[in-house]
Symmetry: C2
Subunit: 147 residues, 2 copies
Amino acid sequence: MLSDMELALRSSGHRLTPARRAVVQVLAEPAGYEHFVPEEVLARARRLHPRLGRATVYRTLEIMASLGFLRVLCDSLGKRYYVRATGGHHHLLCRGCNAVVPLATCPAEGLEEELAKRFGYTLEGHVLEFYGLCPACQAAAVKEACL
Amino acid sequence: MLSDMELALRSSGHRLTPARRAVVQVLAEPAGYEHFVPEEVLARARRLHPRLGRATVYRTLEIMASLGFLRVLCDSLGKRYYVRATGGHHHLLCRGCNAVVPLATCPAEGLEEELAKRFGYTLEGHVLEFYGLCPACQAAAVKEACL
DNA sequence: CTTTCTGCAAAAGATTTGCAGTTCT
DNA sequence: AGAACTGCAAATCTTTTGCAGAAAG
């Protein structure tokens, strides 16, 4: 039984190899792992396919992104990671401690359809990130200002 | 006459040095240069301060981001760059041709205040990006599927 | 069979860090 | 004077590439 990502890989002319299947399986694991950092994906996929090489992970992530399953983002430190391209991703980012708080609610869902119609785009998802300071870093900033 | 970034640097306890002023001056240059890539910033700032070292550019960009003047983003290839942190940024991105369509409307404005209250964050701006395929790339995808 | 993949190791880039000498305040 | 900053070069990461052997279609 092949997953939708595996089917897409094959039907787009790519080969379905054990290495790719291991990576794709990690990408399909249930929620809780929303941020796919190449090095972590490698570690997890090696549990399924121990000989897996780092380069194959990079190459497979890029393929999945080009097929529209993943999207490249980076955190406030500029470090790259991938997210699933389905639906939306909503975060609060703190520029003080670089914390990333995922938001459950999606304020832009309705908008997507409207924009798609207006611009003729096929929209597949969105990312909404709010930037600022978390409570702890606000306190730290105040304290520092008083030194 | 010091710019607001220079004043902020000093009042936050950092020193105002020729190297930092050169970098900050580049960041304040009029529109047309919205994306600040470290290497380019170095090149431009060296015109103002030839001895400027690469490390100082990285360090200064990080300081300006921590002070809330800049924000780190990365392009669809994962390359880091900085943008001015003022206001929000709203785009439609095509994953086929990498076109970027700026949106005038901001659907997230009201939300910012609500989230700030709910999470105790001080929010300074946001980025909202919609991903998909533009009309031309949809057509191209259809054509390719028929080959 | 042919073409595409893989894993490895080397290469290429990008970013950070250690330091000794300088420069703000 | 003293703490902070600088430029350089070396050290670290992260990501990409070149290949010879392996394997999917």
